[in-house]
């Protein structure tokens, strides 16, 4: 307690971020594994139980507040096959809704890397993010959510992995690599940095950006986005059309 009311001359600036992670009901095991992977990689994440209703997203900012979180990642499963990810700043927004595709979790045996549980990952963005206004906003938001602050309780002191976000085909591609600083074949040789993939992998298609947290006016919408249900329905119609033309 500062009795004489004197303020410390220079307050040390800190990056204070905490992220609430939760999902809707009806997620499949694959989606759940992806969520667990993110939880394990981000020590400043607080996981909450599944949200009961898909229509009451306005509850989420309150829930984040109860958990002392100022960010939220919400996985929304639809029809037991489509996965959407909401990334939001709570309580005042903005929030981004994205479609998650090409999910590979860390359980897959093809990715041979490993890293400390709770080590702070580097976060890398490619230059593509800086070229559009929505890209810059997403970059800022992801820096908050995926950049582990040094004050995170479970964070470990060394850096041994890197999260990369790359913009390609107007989608955001996520990869996670282990940073290896020694050549295993030449343990005494000069340090040579190489990378081994740890996983998970996924691709995010931004759909909309809202001004508020899970609410508010749309400030960006992706004109190229076609909902996965529409794609499937088109495929089915084509199949049906084949039979009709054969019958005639």
């Amino acid at each position: 307690m500062n009795v004489d009311g004197e303020q410390p001359a220079q307050k040390k600036l800190k990056n204070k971020q905490r992220v609430m992670l939760l999902s809707s009901r009806g997620i499949t095991h694959r989606m759940r594994h992806l969520m667990n992977d993110l939880e394990v990689l981000l020590p400043h994440v607080k996981k909450d139980s599944k949200l009961d209703s898909k229509n009451h997203l306005h509850l989420l900012p309150e829930l984040a507040d109860l958990n002392n979180c100022n960010n939220a990642l919400y996985f929304e499963a639809r029809r037991h096959e489509d996965l959407y990810l909401w990334a939001a700043k709570t309580p005042n927004g903005p929030s981004v809704k994205m479609h998650v595709q090409n999910v590979h979790t860390m359980d897959e045996l093809k990715m041979t890397g490993n890293c400390l549980k709770g080590s702070r990952g580097l976060v890398s963005f490619d230059k593509g993010f800086d070229e559009t206004e929505w890209g810059r906003l997403v970059k800022e938001l992801f820096t908050h959510i995926f950049g582990v602050p040094p004050t995170a309780r479970k964070a470990k002191p060394f850096v041994d992995h890197i999260l990369t976000f790359s913009l390609l085909d107007s989608k955001i591609w996520f990869r996670n690599f282990q940073i290896v600083e020694k050549d295993p074949l030449q343990p005494n040789g000069p340090p040579q940095t190489s990378l081994i993939e740890i996983g998970p992998r996924f691709v995010l298609t931004p759909i909309r950006i809202f001004e508020g947290a899970f609410s508010g006016a749309t400030v960006y919408s992706n004109p190229e986005f076609v909902s996965p249900a529409a794609v499937r329905s088109l495929q089915r119609r084509e199949k049906g059309g084949k039979y009709n033309s054969r019958k005639d």
Binding site: L13, K14, N15, L41, K89, N92, G93, M106, D107, L109, T112, N114, C115, L116, G118, S119, R120, G121, L122, V123, S124, F125, D126, K127, G128, D130, E131, E133, W134, R136, L137, E140, L141, T143, H144, G147, P150, K156, F158, V159, D160, I162, T164, S166, L167, L168, D169, R175, F177, I179, T193, L195, I198, I209, E211, A217, V219, Y220, S221, P223
Partner: protein, 115 residues
Amino acid sequence: DDAVPQQKLEIDNQVALERIRQTIQLDPSLPWTETLALTYPEKIEVDVDDDLNRELAFYKQALHSAQAAQKLAAKHNFPFTRPSDYFAEMVKSDAHMERIRQRLLNESAGIKKSE
């Protein structure tokens, strides 16, 4: 008889996007060690369907950023490399890593057999 495909309404409110970004922006005087965020100075421009080159581009991005981070860490006096005697829980369990190793061994054995 096909209906004209309806053009979806595109919203791209640049002014609002910039304003929102400025309200949430972290203090620019924050030292790098607080966020560990890096920007790769190149754009990823490869064929999306070319898996090999695409992954290579991502790898290059990550490698470039990792090397930049090592330099930045040295500048900020920030512990980067884990000492070889520092042990702690890993993301993947020993059992899981053993399964990965076994799979690699099986694969190389299979290749040898077919030769």
